[in-house]
């Protein structure tokens, strides 16, 4: 994607049609138009895009649906879970017209509502974490790649340091302390879920950014030797201008691609954190917390285990396929095609 000039137009309109259909003039297309054309031709990526958009839409709309009373994620229905060990009675975990995916053992809360609101929580954490990774990664990657010598060395070693840090261990052991610190900084109670969301997003974002920074640094290393950068430099442009006006426009493609790839990784990581018990405070639902609880019920109540698992699976899959497709479209030299 780094060469906007000549070869992209080689993308051929199928030769047979070109021969018979001489009337169609060959139009010059901008790089973005080419990318869009490639994307729309890729059915898998388009499906993934639709699903990803759907999940994001669900995440945005679920608080509204709770307000309107369409979803009741916190309403207990103990009368539905009178089976031994408080299992739901009836077919597939208590599936019914009111409870499409059945109810949660122990409380009888509607599983569908909890999964939908869980998507909101999980996506919020994952999106903020991704944003942090992208901002930090891009900034440090550009600085590191462009400035030769000592600064580059320091930043690179810092990235190594962060990468070699046992992040999960740190999350588990420092979790409670950090949450109360963050809560104190934000001026809210440590029991407030905002503090926990901020904590998870910060930690996931922080441990995710070095990958990003390295990729950007690699791109910048090749870019900085190019003529337009040299020209800017010889004209006396300051570093800040070169970063923002010369380098950044050429980095949008990798940023976009790796954003869509880091996002699903963060969704999975949030689920894992909830699974390890450092997730969001109850009764707020998150996909990880639901999964964590459901594992024990895999045998007596498989429906309760399968639906949240499938949800996480589809979200991660959609964003991953979307990221893959974007990469193929933006950078045909790498990847599948």
């Amino acid at each position: 994607m780094s060469a906007p000039a000549a070869p992209e137009t080689l993308e051929p309109p199928a030769p047979a049609t070109a021969a018979t259909d001489g009337a169609v003039a060959i139009k010059g297309r901008s790089p973005w138009e080419i990318v869009r054309a490639r994307l729309t031709r890729d059915k898998i990526t388009m499906t993934a895009l639709v699903f990803s958009m759907l999940f994001v839409l669900i995440a945005i709309l679920s608080p509204l649906m709770v307000k309107l009373g369409w979803l009741k994620p916190d309403q207990t229905n103990t009368e539905l879970v009178q089976g031994l060990g408080s299992l739901p009675e009836g077919f597939a975990g208590g599936m019914s017209l009111q409870h499409w995916l059945g109810v949660e053992p122990g409380t009888g809360r509607d599983l569908f509502s909890r999964i939908i609101t869980g998507i909101t929580t999980s996506l919020t954490v994952a999106l903020i974490a991704t944003l942090i990774s992208v901002l930090l990664g891009t900034t440090l990657g550009i600085i590191s790649g462009f400035s030769k010598g000592r600064l580059d060395w320091f930043i690179s070693r810092f990235l190594d340091l962060v990468l070699s840090f046992p992040s999960t261990l740190m999350l588990l052991s420092l979790g409670p302390v950090l949450v109360s610190r963050i809560a104190a900084i934000m001026g809210i109670s440590s029991a407030d879920n905002k503090a926990k969301i901020a904590f998870m997003a910060l930690v996931l974002g922080f441990f995710g950014f070095p990958f990003f920074a390295r990729i950007i640094r690699g791109q910048v290393l090749s870019l900085r030797e190019r003529e337009f950068v040299e020209a800017a430099r010889s004209l006396g442009a300051r570093s800040g201008r070169i970063y923002g006006k010369e380098l950044l426009p050429h980095l949008w493609a990798p940023i976009l691609v790796y954003t869509t790839l880091i996002l699903p990784a963060n969704i999975a990581a949030e689920a894992a954190l909830g699974f390890l018990g450092v997730g969001i405070n109850p009764p707020t639902a998150s996909l990880g917390a639901i999964l964590n609880d459901s594992v024990a019920y895999a045998i007596p109540d498989p429906a309760y285990f399968i639906f949240p698992g499938l949800t996480v699976f589809f979200i991660v899959l959609s964003f991953n396929l979307l990221g893959d497709g974007l990469r193929d479209a933006l950078d045909p030299k790498s990847g599948r095609s």
Binding site: T78, Q82, G85, S86, T107, G277, N281, P283
Partner: protein, 576 residues
């Protein structure tokens, strides 16, 4: 306070160290047991005890988990007195020739040791060993985690900061002369003097291991925590790994004739740690190979209950005893909201105990209660001061809350220990409180629960969950330990009175109860104080926990002992 086993239990309960006591001879409750109508048991074979671990302590003066006390007192630590196994456990002499003689209104106790009771190396168990065992608890810097009653009661002066003038048998032995005056040996007879009457001391010697003998030449302080030096029918072979377990084999120097309680049928007891509750119960249901001879102290996870009941082979190997533990929520008297009595009353009335039980796993896992004394303990008294049903009465509660004059909705933060089942249970409770006009924020804590809520940083929270079980069957190990603000509250925090409850009327009643000499009347008095505290809104008792245990098909004489924590009793157990 006894704590339940960690891990497999749906709601594990717990607390740190008990502080107060004195009163009563217990033993009124009955053991819920389901022994498989004993086909004659014989010696031999290996019994497998499988738990999650890690092992907290094995040092007798430091063990404070009910399940560990019950195991160790049957396997390797004999005590002056003990409880019999079986349906109706009774207090009987063990190392001592009788149940001890009390004089001076409970301030002096005398025990005489039996002839022929020996340590695992063949030496006689001497009076000096019992005395040394008693002295160890005073070394509060080394012997941590165990019950501290002896420091409160023994006739050794206390310093201004409340600590004892005697600092234990290690190092400089500060105050050793004071201790030697309080505990004296004459041949095989030990005489123990207390500051204040301790009329059920011989129950404490049975219910806890802190008064077990300890040989001075085996004591390496902290380093001997897992170095088990046995006086019982089994001794440790090799070493004990706190994460993996150990192997107990016959102790040739244990003489059956001196022991009326322990039958010691199996040749070997293999103690395996590090197995998750789900896995333990999968293995028990499969019942193959050595797992046929397996028992566990972890109660079945609620998710497994249906599977157990559906398996006819497993259902007949199941016991469902009531445990001695009580779950409760203590409103914080120092909080802005719950310093208001009407708010506490509304909170108690709104609490939906039925939903709490359902979330824990249903009626097989817990029963609702309105008292702090467990229904198995004599001091239990039926009471319902606010007339609310077990499912709570949010409408009535809302009226009371409106009378409190607090701006609605009333914001509260409730702190509890996070477990998958308790997360659900508190979500259900939140719903019932919110219906009554509260706006509840839940704060689950994952690590160091009790140490955290006791600290000053949590003194502003509105209510705390906790769990408690009597050390021996008396209200004296429940009421003063939890609600006597004078012994609990300090600058360092709430002690075990997590809600800073310190009521002059209750304190006076506690002082009076200690002085009642008749055991039944004293337990009744504890029960009345219990009801009084509930009525003042000082505590919202939730449930008495029930255990569900499954054991291997090759295990005979499976019994649980209600006086020793409600776990499997190994006294009569056999695998042949």
């Amino acid at each position: 306070m006894m704590r339940t086993k960690k891990g497999a239990i749906g709601v594990a309960l717990g607390a740190v160290v008990a502080l107060a006591a004195a009163a009563c001879s217990g033993g009124g409750s009955t053991a819920t047991s389901s022994s498989s109508a004993a086909p004659a048991a014989a010696k031999g074979g290996t019994l497998y005890m499988v738990n999650l671990g890690p092992q907290e302590h094995w040092d007798p003066q430091r063990v404070y988990i009910g399940a560990d006390i019950e195991f160790a007192s049957r396997v390797m630590y004999r005590t002056l007195t003990t409880y019999t196994a079986g349906k109706d456990p009774k207090l009987v002499p063990d190392l001592a020739t009788d149940l001890g003689t009390m004089s001076d209104g409970g301030k002096t106790w005398k025990f005489t040791l039996k002839d022929g009771v020996k340590w695992e190396d063949g030496q006689d168990i001497k009076c000096e060993d019992v005395k040394y065992g008693l002295s160890r608890t005073f070394a509060q810097d080394v012997i941590t985690g165990g019950p501290n009653y002896i420091i409160m009661f023994l006739d050794v002066p206390t310093a201004a900061d409340g600590s004892s003038e005697y600092k234990g048998p290690y190092g400089a032995k500060v105050g050793q002369a004071l201790f030697d005056k309080a505990v004296t040996c004459e041949g095989k007879t030990i005489t123990i003097k207390f500051k204040t009457p301790w009329t059920d001391f011989n129950n404490a010697t049975a219910g806890l291991l802190a008064y077990a003998p300890y040989r001075a030449d085996q004591d390496k302080g902290e380093a001997s925590d897992y170095a088990i030096f046995s006086s019982g029918p089994y001794k440790l072979e090799g070493t004990f790994d706190k994460d993996k377990g150990g192997k107990f084999v016959r102790n040739a120097n244990w003489d059956e004739k001196t022991d009326t309680v322990r039958k010691a049928y199996p040749d070997v007891i293999q103690y395996d740690l590090g197995v998750q509750g789900d896995t333990i119960y999968e293995r028990l249901l499969a019942d193959s190979g050595n797992d046929k001879f397996m028992v566990t102290q972890g109660s079945a996870p609620p998710a497994k209950l249906a599977q157990i009941a559906a398996d006819p082979n497993a259902a007949k190997r199941t016991a469902n005893p009531t445990s001695p533990y009580t779950d409760y929520i203590q409103p914080n008297m120092k909080s802005a909201v719950f310093s208001n009595e009407k708010a506490r009353q509304a909170f108690a009335m709104a609490t939906n105990k039925d939903a709490y039980i359902t979330a824990l796993g249903g009626p097989q896992v817990a029963v609702a209660t309105n008292a702090m004394c467990n229904k198995e303990v004599k001091c239990y008294q039926e009471s319902n001061p606010f007339g609310a049903p077990t499912k709570g009465d949010p409408e009535a509660a809302k009226k009371v809350l409106t009378e409190s004059g607090l701006p609605m909705p009333v914001k509260i933060t409730v702190v509890y220990r996070s477990r998958p089942t308790s997360d659900k249970a508190f979500s259900s409770l939140k719903e019932s409180w919110d219906k009554a006009g509260f706006e509840t924020t839940l704060e689950p804590l994952t690590a160091k629960y009790y140490a955290t809520i006791q600290g000053p940083a949590y003194a502003t929270k509105d209510a705390f969950w906790a769990g408690w079980g009597a050390d021996w069957p008396s209200g004296s190990t429940v009421i003063p330990s939890l609600f006597d603000g004078r012994v609990n509250i300090s600058a360092g925090g709430s002690g075990q009175d997590y809600g800073y409850f310190n009521d002059p009327e209750v304190n006076a009643a506690i002082d009076k109860a200690y002085t009642i000499t008749d055991a039944d009347a004293r337990e009744k008095a504890w029960g009345e104080i219990d009801a009084m505290i509930v009525k003042k809104g000082g505590v919202v008792p939730l449930i008495n926990q029930k255990f569900t245990f499954v054991y291997g098909s090759g295990v005979k004489n499976f019994e649980v002992n209600s006086l020793m924590g409600g776990y499997v009793d190994l006294a009569n157990i056999a695998v042949k």
